[in-house]
């Protein structure tokens, strides 16, 4: 393996994160390649230098400061679910309107009616008409004809053979 492949492994080699066979490969290469050895040392020293940045300690009284702040903060989930009393009459009105509207619509549908409702609301003449559907179908055609006058004429024709 060439320098490029070895250098790609150096960052993990610094932390000992390579597999054993890879460690052997890198060690072998470093023993003969000064450029890679120099790069490895630079990586190693810069990694070690990070420990110079020490931890900081919390400010004195941080625990009491935390509890004081906690007492003044409302949980975000509870705030999201807080009920606004101003909206109560608005919501109630909306519900009532929906309810009334649905009742009106329902009654309107039944007033136009199902076939059963229609039949129940028929007059006596209309019922008699329905008894003879053929006559009913022709009703519009014959409703204006004066049967009795024409019937006498037809009878006369039959009598006179004309």
């Amino acid at each position: 393996m060439g320098c490029q492949g070895i250098q790609e492994m150096l960052a993990m080699y610094v932390e000992g994160e390579l597999e054993q066979d890879q460690i052997t490969l890198v060690k072998s290469h470093l023993s003969i390649c000064q450029a890679c050895q120099k790069r490895f040392q630079s990586l190693q020293k810069s990694w070690e230098l990070l420990e110079k940045w020490q931890n900081v300690e919390p400010s004195p009284g941080y625990i009491s400061a935390f509890w004081t702040r906690l007492a003044s903060v409302k949980p975000s989930r509870q705030m999201a679910w807080k009920f606004n009393p101003v909206l109560v009459p608005v919501f109630a009105t909306f519900c009532i309107l929906i309810l009334v509207g649905s009742v009106i619509i329902k009654n309107h549908i039944f007033s136009v009616g199902t076939p059963e409702v229609i039949v129940l609301n028929l007059s006596d003449d209309e019922v008699k008409m329905l008894e003879n559907f053929e006559l009913a179908e022709s009703y519009d055609l014959i409703k204006d004809i004066d049967f009795w006058e024409n019937l006498e004429g037809v009878e006369d024709l039959e009598r006179t053979g004309g």
Partner: protein
């Protein structure tokens, strides 16, 4: 919700073996002392994690309080779906990312720093000053890293997270974390190289 409850109490949940998860569940059951124990264990770690990421101690202290306020208010909603440490650091990471977006932290100039001999291990006043200067150099160099490299580096170098833990905290694959760390280390080598005596 029902199935999450089953997972929470199922013996097959691997996270129940984490003692800190148990502490959080104790807190969920009303044991306030459990929360205080958790805070005692992690307050400094979270503070330093955020401090190293943002480079500002005052802001880090403020955000550390926010982290634990959030943990406190999550009492009723907590579900052990990760190691406690990973879950806690994820909260800290998210708050830190958001903070970084809101504020741009100014960097300190490195021109004032001279080449240091880091091979000298003898403790004396000059060495102490050098250590303080070196700490500032390191702080500056880390602050100049890209955000994701910086986060991965801090978790690895200062919090001793494994690659898998870093991956879980940052929402990345282990391979992506390895790549981030490799680039971070290379950047460190390039930036700190002039401060290292050959």
């Amino acid at each position: 919700m029902f199935f999450m409850s089953l997972f929470k109490f199922s013996s097959s949940n691997p996270y129940l073996s984490d003692p800190n998860v148990q502490l959080m569940l104790d807190f969920q059951n009303g044991n306030k002392a459990a929360f205080e124990t958790l805070m005692g264990q992690y307050y400094r770690r979270i503070l330093n994690f955020i401090y190293r990421y943002l480079g500002n101690k005052e802001r880090a202290e403020d955000l550390t309080q926010e982290v634990f306020i959030k943990v406190y208010h999550e009492q009723n909603h907590y579900r052990p779906t990760a190691q406690f440490r990973t879950w806690l650091y994820t909260i800290a990471k998210n708050l830190s990312f958001n903070e970084l977006k809101r504020h741009h932290h100014k960097s300190v100039s490195l021109d004032q720093f001279q080449t240091l001999d880091v091979e000298d291990q003898t403790a004396h006043p000059d060495k102490i000053l050098a250590d303080e200067e070196m700490a500032n150099v390191v702080k500056k160099v880390i602050s100049e890293l890209p955000e994701n490299q910086r986060m991965a580096l801090i978790l690895r170098r200062y919090d001793n997270f494994s690659y898998e833990e870093i991956a879980e905290t940052m929402g990345l694959s282990s391979q992506a974390v390895k790549s981030l760390l490799n680039r971070a280390k290379d950047n460190l080598r390039l930036k700190l190289g002039k401060f290292i005596k050959e």
